[in-house]
């Protein structure tokens, strides 16, 4: 019994190590952006506690559709203009990262809030980096999506059946 528990523990530890190894490779670019912001603006990134656990849960829930979920927040970024965001991201990420959505509000006369979504297609999966700068606050979200797995999860009839049931119960 004790041996079996030990074995299960080892398997779990091994799985976690495998997941975390995969994450570290995928998150290299994300961490590079975070450290660039930290150095340039002498700011400290606030990481969400238990994010790795949340990421594993998201991966399990979506059957591998969403992986390597990372969220980092910067408060009171002094000296940063929204317009600095895109060049900063481009300088830290390679050419394989492509701009998907760029949104600038406030413009030249405003405070230059900016949202940028960059994607990195890699075979059947796609890395996504979301950066949102708003009034001195910068949120960075990174994730990796597997199109086939996510599509399967989205179009899963059982999941849709459950969500429609929940919708009915809320409506009632």
């Amino acid at each position: 019994m004790k041996f079996q528990m030990k074995q299960t523990g080892l398997v779990l530890l091994g799985s976690l190590l495998l997941i975390s190894t995969g994450c570290s490779a995928a998150d290299h670019d994300f961490n590079s952006v975070v450290s660039a912001v930290e150095h340039k603006y002498s700011a400290h990134a606030q990481r969400i506690p238990l994010m790795t656990f949340v990421s594993i849960c998201a991966s399990l829930k979506t059957h591998g559709g969403v992986r390597s979920l990372r969220v980092v927040e910067f408060d009171n970024l002094r000296g940063m203009d929204g317009k600095d965001l895109y060049p900063l991201l481009r300088s830290r990420l390679g050419d394989e990262w492509q701009p998907f959505v760029t949104e600038v509000s406030g413009g030249k006369n405003g405070d230059g809030d900016q949202s940028v979504i960059l994607v990195h297609p890699d075979g059947s999966s796609m890395g996504m980096m979301i950066a949102d700068y708003d009034h001195g606050e910068l949120d960075l979200v990174g994730m990796e999506m597997n199109g086939a797995a996510l599509s399967k999860w989205l179009h899963d009839p059982e999941r849709q059946h459950h969500s429609s049931q929940r919708g009915h119960s809320v409506g009632d």
Partner: protein, 194 residues
């Protein structure tokens, strides 16, 4: 022919074939990864108060199409449509006041679509200066290989460039999806269409 001569000949053929393939690569890449054709976009972005840019190349379109439900009639139609597209570019500029872009700017944009392949298809002009709309199509042979929509309002300028095989009626399918704004080409009140 000696063995050495045969080997030399084979090497030469291989090198020539390789060079030929390398030369064709940029052409293929250019065809599948076109750039946004309007050169004025950076200047307009600098003047605008709000800017929205959406860029979807073939890889991203292919990835996005996976989320459409093939069993749904509309989604299946959209999937078929996306398969023939190379890229979708959306550029939307909002200005704090009218006059931030000039008629010359519009002229410059329109002139970029007066090449041998491009043909103006829709031209809507407002009498009161409320907004003008232009739709250009790129014809290669008998096939439509691209489409450009320019919608100019006093405080807003929208441009949509779709590269790939598309029929004008397919615009309705894309309108409101994949970052393409809701296009209303039928707005005729107070406007004259040519």
């Amino acid at each position: 022919m000696t063995r050495f001569q045969r080997m030399t000949s084979a090497c030469r053929t291989g090198i020539l074939l390789g060079c030929g393939l390398l030369l064709t690569l940029p052409v293929v890449a250019q065809d599948t990864q076109p750039n946004f054709p309007v050169e004025l976009d950076k200047k307009l972005a600098a003047r605008a108060s709000d800017v929205n840019e959406v860029t979807m190349n073939k890889t991203m379109l292919k990835f996005a199409s996976q989320f459409l439900d093939g069993k749904d009639k509309d989604d299946a139609q959209a999937q078929r449509l996306i398969q023939n597209l190379n890229a979708i570019y959306v550029r939307s500029y909002e200005f704090s006041q009218p006059g931030q872009y000039t008629p010359e700017d519009l002229k410059t944009i329109r002139q970029q679509f007066l090449g041998p392949d491009w043909n103006p298809m829709v031209k809507v002009r407002s009498k009161k200066g409320e907004g003008d709309t232009d739709v250009y199509i790129k014809m290669v042979g008998n096939e439509v290989k691209g489409m450009f929509v320019l919608d100019a309002e006093p405080k807003e300028l929208d441009m949509v460039y779709i590269s790939g095989s598309i029929r004008p009626e397919d615009l309705n399918e894309l309108s409101g999806n994949f970052g393409v704004p809701k296009l209303n080409l039928q707005k005729s009140s107070g406007k004259e269409s040519k």
